[in-house]
């Protein structure tokens, strides 16, 4: 009886000491829309089509990405490059390049299949739209550099329990 009272009191006080310690720690909540979310450099988010430094598109319209895609969400229709209209260094370029984000599972196979490293998965994860048709993103959207404000790229070290107060 007495030992039960003693251990119960000790446990209660220990619990209260732990919560009291936490009271003075800064909150760990990420205030998402107003504060950016940190993702790993290799996080697979929304696709981006890359260009060469001279402005030519990397994509050569080979459709290997569409072939590699397990959900068949990529549509590529190739066009022939001519001297007047040269969009990529190879023979052909992608005239239409569309990705249906509702079907995409962000596996990254398209990026692995791409011979010119034209398509890569970057860090945007906030992909909600008001209209289902807007979930199909077109070549124009994909070609633009896409670095939204709500994303921050964290360093690539393996996540360890952060020391409180050093989390930012």
């Amino acid at each position: 009886m007495l030992s039960a009272v003693w251990s119960g009191s000790v446990e209660t006080l220990r619990a209260m000491w732990i919560t009291l310690k936490h009271l003075f720690r800064p909150p760990v909540t990420n205030q998402f829309p107003s504060e950016p979310v940190a993702v790993y450099p290799r996080f697979r988010g929304r696709h981006v089509l890359k260009r060469y430094d001279n402005g030519l598109e990397r994509c050569i319209g080979c459709s290997l990405c569409a072939a590699a895609c397990p959900t068949d969400c990529i549509l590529v229709i190739a066009g022939e490059n001519t001297e007047e209209n040269r969009r990529s260094p190879g023979e052909r370029y992608a005239e239409v390049y569309e990705i249906n984000l509702l079907r995409c599972i962000f596996c990254g196979y398209c990026a692995e299949a791409c011979p010119t490293e034209a398509i890569v998965l970057e860090h945007d994860f906030a992909l909600a739209t008001y209209d289902r048709w807007d979930a199909i993103i077109t070549q124009e959207e994909l070609l633009e550099p896409h670095e939204p404000e709500h994303i921050r790229i964290r360093d690539d070290r393996v996540w360890v329990e952060p020391r409180w107060g050093h989390i930012k």
Binding site: V5, T12, A15, M16, I18, T19, L20, H22, L23, R25, P26, P27, V28, T29, Q31
Partner: protein, 335 residues
């Protein structure tokens, strides 16, 4: 001109108390959410106004504008009456609590810092406090729903059980103070607070107070995971808010009583020279006890119902009786 001192001044003081308590309730809900959030390393409400300070107003507006739903199967009269029955007793207790020392004289009228100095103040408090149980039991009964009924019955037996150790712990305070009047009990603590003379009594009172107010870890009445909020299942909108209000005002009342009985009421350093300090000391002590209650809520998990009952009847009640007996003997020997 007796009506001024008999009716007008008490009425003004009552209105003041009610306004202060209702505002206190609103901001207590905000402070509790904020504090519990910080205990859990979160921010808590921070969207409405600076630091979320307008949150209580947003909550109140939301509650008021909710659709009033009275289920068909309830006992309408009792169902509507029950929320009020939980709020009123928690408010009425404040009539006898002295919130400050001394008294002020304005226009020849002496204004005391309490509504009434009842010579059986403690009995009044115990009687009124048990009335609060009616609201909850009747809410459970009139809702005509098995969860509500179980919740109401649980609350009834919990409150009745914990009233005993609470009353006995307060009885040992009365033995030392030699009076049932709250003003005299506070005055008896001018030298040394009763928490020093009655540490066990204070702990028993605090634990029973948690159970009386239905606060964690004794928040069995509203166990949302087993009883779908117990007695409050069928209530919504402003009627639910009234239960909420009753619980929070009860919490303030429990803290004020703890202050009055054990923490020296409005006494503190330099209170003799500057009387207004008494009110400040009182408020600080009440805030401290409220902080303790919230701290306990953030720390301890809810007990099981059999544990709740066993703890009361097999531990708290014998301990309080022992405490009372020892106190009585010591008081007899010393004084």
């Amino acid at each position: 001109m007796d009506w001024i001192s008999l009716i007008l001044i008490p009425a003004i003081k009552s209105v003041l108390l009610v306004v202060v308590l209702l505002t206190g309730f609103a901001y207590l809900s905000y402070i509790e959410r904020k504090l519990v959030a910080r205990f859990q390393v979160r921010y808590g409400p921070n969207r409405a106004g600076p630091f979320g300070a307008l949150q209580p107003i947003a909550d109140a507006l939301k509650m008021v504008f909710k659709e009033e739903i009275i289920p068909l199967h309830v006992d309408r009269l009792v169902y509507v009456l029950a929320p009020a029955l939980t709020v009123i007793p928690a408010l009425v207790i404040w009539a006898v609590i002295p919130v400050s020392g001394g008294s002020i004289t304005i226009f020849g009228q002496t204004i005391t810092p309490y509504v009434a100095d009842v010579n059986v103040g403690l009995l009044y408090i115990l009687a009124i406090a048990s009335l609060g149980t009616y609201g909850i039991v009747l809410a459970g009964w009139s809702s005509n729903n098995k969860y509500s009924l179980l919740g109401g019955l649980r609350t009834g037996s919990q409150m009745l059980s914990y009233e005993l150790p609470m009353g006995i712990a307060l009885a040992s305070v009365v033995l030392i103070a030699g009076s049932l009047s709250l003003v005299d009990i506070v005055n008896a603590q001018s030298v040394v607070w009763f928490v020093v003379l009655q540490p066990i009594g204070f702990i028993i009172y605090f634990i029973s107070g948690l159970a009386e107010a239905g606060r964690s870890p004794f928040d069995l009445p509203e166990t949302e995971n087993e009883l779908v909020s117990g007695f409050a299942t069928e209530y919504g909108g402003i009627k639910f808010a009234l239960f909420f209000m009753g619980e929070y005002i009860h919490m303030i009342t429990i803290s004020a009583l703890a202050t009055t009985f054990f923490l020296g009421g409005w006494y503190g350093p330099f209170v003799g020279q500057i009387p207004i300090l008494g009110l400040a000391y009182f408020l600080i002590k009440v805030a401290f006890v409220i902080f303790l209650i919230i701290w306990v809520r953030a720390s301890l998990p809810r007990v099981r119902y059999d544990q709740l009952m066993r703890f009361c009847w097999k531990f708290l009640l014998p301990l309080s009786l022992l405490n009372l007996a020892v106190t009585a003997v010591v008081v007899l020997l010393v004084g």
